[in-house]
Amino acid sequence: MATKRLKIIPLSLFVMSAHISGLRAFLGTSFQIAKAEFKLKNEGSYLGIFWYLLSPLLTFIILFLVFSDRLGGGIPNYAGYLLIGVIIFNFFIRITKENAKVILVNALLIKSVNFPRESLIIANLFNAVVSHLIEIVLFSFILAFFFGTNITGFLFYPLILIPLVIFAIGISFFLSAMTIYVNDLDNIWAFVTTLIWLGTPIFYEVGGQTKLLAVNLFNPLFYFITLAREVILYQRLPELNFMVGAVIFSAVSFFVGYFIFSRLNRKIAELI
């Protein structure tokens, strides 16, 4: 009995180390692709990574100038409220848009080399997370210096970022696999994101609008943005149903997205 147990332990250690080395190799591949993509995107660009900051910053400035008196008039710390909405939406859109075309963009590579195609999606995620974190640092300074916001709440942001990332990966898996079958997905997704932008309380608040609230209960971004605002801006513990909702949306998105991707993955190389 004791010998049997001894045999099982090294075997399980072996299996575990094989998994760890597999994961290391996978992350290494994703990192190398991310590095290449990052260089490609900034190749020949004068502002480089600052273009990523410029887009949400300009969106924020315009929305703030237009809406701060009317729509944002009754919202405490409207600048922070708006900025958090803009950067979370921007992060989600950046990952999903890039990943919606990632398979088609890498068609020649996929047809030539057998490698885990998931690493293409994770590579885009790495780049999006890095630029998102830079956005967070820069914009938290803007909030602190120009609007006198207490930014200590940003320390808790990773608790919201992790489920948000899992949610975005799930959607990315789904979109990247479906673009092979649905040629118009790029256009459809562009339209859907416009709807999400308008339907999510980013530059306005739900207030007493029950219909809008009912719709947003099915909108995952509403949960993540609300959680972020509660924790970062208002430094209070969010309502339990928002926390549970965010976790459920993340888990469902990830498992459904990954399931669809892994089912369609085996046919990707021959359909592109």
């Binding site: 190799a25 290449a36 260089k39 030539s112 080399v113």
Partner: protein
């Protein structure tokens, strides 16, 4: 040559659904045009292929365009999934199937080497050690920081083959890797491939260059319409190819 079988295929078949023009009524044509969907028909580019390859064997894979050579290589590399049959491949497979077209053209050669070696399962420290060998072999030492879009086809092919050879493969799958190479590089690369084969690395080279196949390969396989027509000595495989009807 070892008797260990590295690649085993048993009745492997592959199916594709390809677009084609079907005779349709005017209404059918209109519906196809509006929906944007094309008619599909099923073809079998690989049909019940059975063969095995021993460790260190150098296989010359020949056949007309569209005979199924690249598809077969992609099935062995598991880029395409087979629809029927059994496939077993032992060890690390490195496939160079139009790899030069997949390079990131706006990146430097160094960046491409790091990217592709990583995709072939190498770690950064291994690549740092190997990069000099890749440069020496390809003869492209002076272009390390040059963007790849400035390379000629021959240079791209040199780079692809050098990356493949130095990625520590157990099985090397090569598809028309000498098309644009000059004589000097082709000579050096053929010598290197023979050395690798002697060291126990299994090579399958799909090519229309019968001189290379007859002089370097230890075995020739002739494919026609997705089936193996001949499997034996390279010279006999080439003879069998020459006897194929020109068109059907």
């Amino acid at each position: 040559m070892s008797s260990e079988k590295i690649i085993v295929l048993e009745k492997v078949s592959k199916k594709f659904d390809i677009g084609f023009k079907k005779k349709q009524s005017a209404l059918g044509k209109l519906l196809s045009m509006v929906s944007g969907r094309e008619q599909k028909k099923t073809i079998w580019p690989i049909q019940e292929i059975t063969f095995s390859v021993k460790k260190g064997e150098f296989i010359g894979l020949i056949g007309k365009n569209g005979s199924g050579k690249s598809t077969l290589l992609r099935i062995i590399a598991e880029i395409y999934q087979k629809n029927k049959g059994n496939l077993r491949v032992t060890g690390k497979v490195v496939s160079l199937i139009n790899l030069q077209q997949g390079f990131r053209y706006r990146l430097t050669m160094k960046d491409n080497i790091y990217l592709y070696c990583t995709l072939f399962g190498m770690e950064s420290n291994e690549i740092s050690i190997t990069i000099d060998s890749i440069l020496d072999f390809s003869g492209l030492q002076d272009f390390l920081d040059t963007k790849v879009y400035q390379f000629s086809n021959g240079m791209l092919q040199r780079l692809a083959l050098a990356i493949g050879i130095y990625s520590n493969p157990d099985v090397l799958l090569l598809d028309e890797v000498f098309e644009s190479s000059d004589e000097e590089f082709t000579f050096a690369a053929r010598k290197k491939l023979r050395e690798l084969s002697a060291k126990g690395i299994t090579i399958i080279l799909a090519s229309h260059d019968f001189r290379i196949i007859s002089e370097d390969a230890s075995r020739g396989i002739l494919l026609d319409s997705g089936k193996i027509i001949f499997d034996g000595s390279p010279a006999k495989a080439i003879n069998a190819y020459r006897k194929l009807p020109h068109s059907k």
